[in-house]
Point group: C2
Chain length 143, copies 2
């Protein structure tokens, strides 16, 4: 990759580079899709969840290969919990289901955009979106 | 956290848990903000970039504490390159600048939503958005 401000592509020279991480757990994910994923050191890709109707960004969660497989094949958004180290199906206990309308992979394979029909609030706090904490942009030229 | 399908919160019992990762590099980021971040094993949070005008999700990149500091204080979206292990200011070479309008942190501190005025294409491939690869949702009930 010769474009300095482009995402990372190609084969990193450092074998400890997290972008070469292998799947962390066994998975039934289609091999052609799995080959395109570029995972964090703990074997995950970021899943950005968007409301299909409004386009609003609702949350970010994490998927390993198997969570992606389950999401694609069940139509129910399924994630990997980093703290509990287990799969969770959104809404299984809260009732705030996410019915998957489409899934797109980004150009360098480390993020997914999941468009869903969201039942109720996406955030466990009761907010519609998880992104309710604004940080101060202090740049003089900020518009 | 007693809600099984909620994001991870609280203090994980396993000290190797990636969500407790410390900053990977020195940073001038405000300590109160830094304290809210819950980083990957390599010290990063996911930054979801959205077009301020259309709401379209353009890309996902990665920020460490210092990249977030620079983004907030310069008004120019700045990321950490996982493969090159260096900071990059979006548009510095491509001219496809991202002028930051707002930044929001999510409820569990592992993702940012950055609203920008995007000049030109966000994706290094020339696509407006990086999410141009649709994956097949094969669930019978997929709508």
């Amino acid at each position: 990759m010769s474009v300095p401000d482009a995402p990372a592509t190609g084969v990193p020279s450092d074998p400890s580079d997290p972008v070469t991480a292998a799947p962390a757990r066994p998975s039934r994910l289609d091999a052609a899709i799995a080959a395109r994923l570029r995972r964090t050191a703990d074997g995950l890709v970021a899943a950005v969840v968007r409301a299909h109707d409004s386009g609003e960004v609702l949350m970010v969660a994490w998927m390993d290969d198997e969570a992606l497989h389950r999401t694609l094949t069940t139509g129910r958004a399924t994630y990997w919990s980093r703290s509990r180290r287990e799969y969770w199906v959104k809404g299984a206990t809260s009732g705030h289901h996410q019915y998957v309308r489409s899934v797109a992979l980004d150009c360098d394979g480390d993020a997914l955009l999941v468009s869903v029909d969201q039942v109720g609030a996406a955030c466990h706090t009761g907010h519609r979106t998880c992104f309710f904490t604004e940080l101060p942009v202090t740049a003089p030229e900020a518009r």
